[in-house]
Structures are given as C-alpha cells and as structure tokens.
Symmetry: none
Subunit: 202 residues, 2 copies
C-alpha cells in the first residue's frame, strides 16, 4: 500500500469518520466543504486515494465510495460510569454501570462516557439527576465545564487553569471555588474530560 500525504490522510480520516457517523459515505462536495476547498480539489484527493488503493470509487454514482469492511452504526453504546476511581483506567469494565444506545450524531469524538450528576454545584445549567456526556480529554479550554476527579471523587465543575494554579468553580454561587496550587493540582486533580451534553428527565 502506497504512503499517503498528510492531506490525503486527513481526507481519508474524514471519509471514515463521516461514514461511521452517518452510515453512508460523503459526497465529493461534502468533502470539499469540510476542508473549505473546491469540489475539484476534493475530487483530486479522492482520486489519489483510489489510485493508492485506500478506497473504492464507483464512477458516476452519488456517494459511490466504499471503504472495505466497514460496518456503520447509527447508534452507539455509550457507557454510564458509576463510581470513578483514580488510577484505574477510565472505561474499565468494573466502572461501567450500564450502557445506553445514543444517536451517533450526539456522540462527538472517540472516547465518551455518561455520568449521573449528584450535587447541584453547577445549577442551574446542570442539576442533580441529570446525565452528562463527557468526551475524554486530558485538558479543557479555560472556563469549560469538565468532569474532574478530585480526591478520588468525580465532580462536574468549570475549570480555570492559571499560572497561579487550578481553580474549580461551580455555577452555583452557594459553592466556594476550589483552588489548587500547581503542585497540589498535579497530585490531587485529574481532568477526565469535557462535558459536551446534558440530558434531563422531567
């Protein structure tokens, strides 16, 4: 198999991801739109990928590209984590309480889990009993809501990483922000991932 340029690799990845999410391949124009280029340029990339054997194209057919041995899923089984223990790998089977089938379009990214909210420190945006979807990532943007492991306990807070240390703040003013020096933070605090969705049953 011939090697791909980084651009071609990116196009292939996009096609694979699109396929996983939608259940069918993208059009040439959708590839073009995703990369902000003209259809012709996208066509060039897809031709190159076909020439190098990475995908199959059926001339003249809409979405006529196929990746060998792909099984698309419309629904993804997302694990609900019970108690989260520090140290352990996050998605270890002992921690998975249940799984829920969610539409692929709601699941952004690779590693994702659900967490049942207990406290109301993030009220009114996130309430006790809510289910939050967390995309696993080791760092988040300033002010993002994240699932954070503090002293062996998982909580949902806004994260502010600063030179002076780390601050975990709830939206609810009744809760005092937690402040950590850089040293403490490294030892006691672990960002599990960014909260990307909230699901509430009324």
């Amino acid at each position: 198999m011939k090697t791909l340029t980084s651009r071609q690799q990116a196009v292939l990845s996009f096609v694979e991801e699109y396929f996983q999410q939608q259940g069918y391949p993208p059009t040439v124009r959708e590839v073009a739109a995703h990369f902000g280029i003209q259809p012709r340029a996208a066509d060039d990339h897809l031709s190159a990928l076909k020439r190098k054997g990475y995908l199959h194209r059926e001339p003249g057919r809409s979405r006529g590209l196929a990746l060998t041995g792909r099984q698309p899923e419309l629904v993804v089984e997302v694990p609900i984590l019970g108690q989260i223990a520090a140290g352990q790998p996050l998605l270890a089977t002992e921690q998975v309480e249940d799984t829920l089938p969610l539409p692929r379009s709601w699941v952004q990214g690779e590693e994702v889990f659900l967490l049942r909210v207990t406290g109301d420190s993030m009220a009114p945006l996130i309430l006790p009993g809510d289910l939050v979807m967390v995309r696993v990532q080791p760092r988040v943007a300033r002010g993002d809501i994240a699932a954070v492991l503090v002293f062996d306990e998982a909580t949902i807070k806004r994260v502010y990483e600063e030179a002076g240390g780390l601050v975990l703040k709830g939206d609810n003013p009744d809760f005092t922000p937690l402040r950590f020096s850089p040293g403490e933070a490294a030892e006691l605090v672990q960002i599990l991932g960014k909260v990307v969705g909230v699901y509430r049953s009324l």
Copy 2:
C-alpha cells in the same frame, strides 16, 4: 417494534444486502429498479420502514438511508417536529423534520416527539437550542411544563388551569404570564403534551 409486511421485509432485505455488497446504501431509484416498480412506490416502502423504526433516512440526501443498529427494541425513532400548525394532526408527515434514534428507556409513552427550543422564557431550566421531548397528552397537571400551541405558535410554558381560566407562565421572570379566560383558552390554546425531557449540547 411494529411488524413488517412481506413486501416491506423484502425491501429491507434488499437494502441490507445491497449495503453489504456495495459498502453504501442504494438510492430510491435502485430499490425501485430491483423490484420493477416506480420510484414513488419504493419511496413509500422506505418511508414505511423508517416509520416503523427499521432504518433511518436523511431527507434530501442521495443514498441517505442508514440501517438501524439491529437491536431495535432498545432504540426508538423519535420524530423532531419543525413548525407546528394548529388543526393539523400533530405527527403529520409534513411537520416531521427528522427523526432521532433514542434509547427506549428515555421514551415514556406511545406518542412522543422532540421540539427544538427557540425562546428563553423557560430559562434557566430550558434554554434556546435545547431539544425537549414531549409526551403527547391533551391535559397536564397544574404547574407542569408543557408544549402549548398558542395562536398557531408552539411554545414551552408552565400550565396552570384554574376556574378563572388558563395561565401560561415561563420560569424566566422577564416574561409576563399569559392569561386566558376559559372561552379564550378553548379557542386559542391547545396543549400538545407534557415536556418529559431536555437534551442540551454544550
């Protein structure tokens, strides 16, 4: 899961086989050609299959059909309604903008739909951009949050039915409650159903 007619079963089998062989789903016209029928007839079959939850269709896209993840008992296709018009039957196909596969455990009751929230009258519990799940029912308990059709426009409000009339109140104090005399209410207000879930993407 609803049962299929033998013809619908045959169409579903063809879609599955085609998908397995080609790596992408068939077009409506290809289904039609395979059975020797008109595109419109094939479209009818595919619509029926979508309605019964056996596959997902993306309106307007070529080959925009995807097979549901083969555990249909766990997943229910919930319609997302666009503009809701008074008089029309609620789940009329013209009003259905799309459908989303949701876990059965989240879907309470038979007739359920999703609505995209536009105003912030129910802030902070429900925010613009949220998706709310509505269980269709003609009346709700006092103080329940409901999807209500007022003057041909669908809104989310708390409903207070009293001897003196009907009051629709938003949680957001910036919004003045709407009051209707019993006569006005009967004429202008229609309760679509109770809001049983809120889904928010962050």
